[in-house]
Symmetry: C2
Subunit: 211 residues, 2 copies
């Protein structure tokens, strides 16, 4: 395991250097299956188009369903299928990037495999990570899956419109997140209602320019 | 990876033999973080108590939150903390079982780590697997994460009460599940409304007696 992570870190360092040379900022977007990563991405891209030159890498075990959704927005997208693998690694990203014109991009968004555990363990050379946690998953998740929340610059509490139908306690989740990671930025979004997206996108825009 | 799985399979075979000798049936309960495994388990145990002698093994990366919930029901429970590990393996189950009186049990329920990928790859010596998929995760999940659905004797479509607030298509999910695994048994449950639980529990009761 140490060897695998060591080899991955080396390629991730190469990726990071290459991204910096090309002047592209890379976000690693993570979260459970069905937390709403792709839908958040669709809404985010709609707001970013015209402001930033963006491309997307979609990570899934199988199918090109997510890449097809991004492609419909007219945004360049590459689908990686891990064929059962539970996370993206730096080598997969390196290979996918060989077919992208990174110099022509401001922001590259990598949507990782739906998994609250393994993706957080593998550096892909990104500038920063973001984790999406949907309200329906429960407010106990930060303490039960701490690494991904410790590693992420921001946590997006998504599907906030479903709050009245769950026992999710936003105050308690925010307190746990802040305990795990005092500087984490927390957003509350609903992609079906369109709420909270302006704050989230403004933050991302600034990260893309300043990173 | 082959070596790890080979070593695991050996211990799983030992576990399976030991469970058979003790006359205990073992269910491996899997699903994404927040799909509602523990809540389903609470409701299930409430129905099984008095009909079967049941114990539970709870798998989590960190915390004993889930075991505490089961303990409150007066059911014997052992918490395994994987300390970051993304799945339970056969050796963890072997070790946990050493502290259980298996001869005095009819059914042992193992709630795996919240993860739609890795737990399906590791045999723990169970008699059968069950996967919980919550409506809010989306109907595209069976095709995107096929292994876990191919491996499971039953799929529980949970949080069915939230159906009106999502774009989940039950017919499409059922069709995909049946394509992946023609004999899979499908249940629709709501643990907050208490719907669908009688059918699910009746099936489980029969599996526990006949396996």
């Amino acid at each position: 395991m140490k060897n695998i992570l060591g080899a991955n870190d080396e390629i991730a360092a190469h990726n990071r250097e290459h991204f910096a040379k090309c002047g592209v900022v890379v976000m690693n977007l993570m979260g459970s299956p069905g937390s709403g990563k792709t839908t958040l991405l669709e809404q985010t891209l709609a707001q970013l188009v015209g402001k930033l030159r963006v491309a997307v890498i979609e990570g899934d075990l199988f199918t090109a369903k997510d890449a097809e959704r991004i492609d419909r927005l007219g945004v360049d997208v590459i689908q990686i299928n891990t064929a059962g693998g539970c996370h993206l690694d730096a080598a997969m990203i390196q290979k996918a990037c060989a077919t992208l014109d990174l110099d022509a991009l401001d922001l590259l968004i990598v949507e990782n495999v739906g998994n609250l555990v393994c993706p957080a363990e593998f550096d892909i050379g990104e500038n920063f990570k973001v984790v999406v946690l949907s309200i329906t998953e429960g407010d106990d998740k930060p303490l039960k899956y701490p690494l991904i929340f410790k590693e992420s610059a921001a946590a997006v509490l998504n599907k906030i419109d479903l709050l009245p139908f769950t026992n999710f306690n936003v105050q308690s989740a925010r307190a746990d997140l802040s305990t795990l990671h005092p500087t984490i930025k927390i957003f509350e979004t609903s992609c079906t209602r369109g709420t909270g997206l302006d704050d989230w996108t403004a933050w991302l825009l600034e990260k893309a320019v300043r990173s």
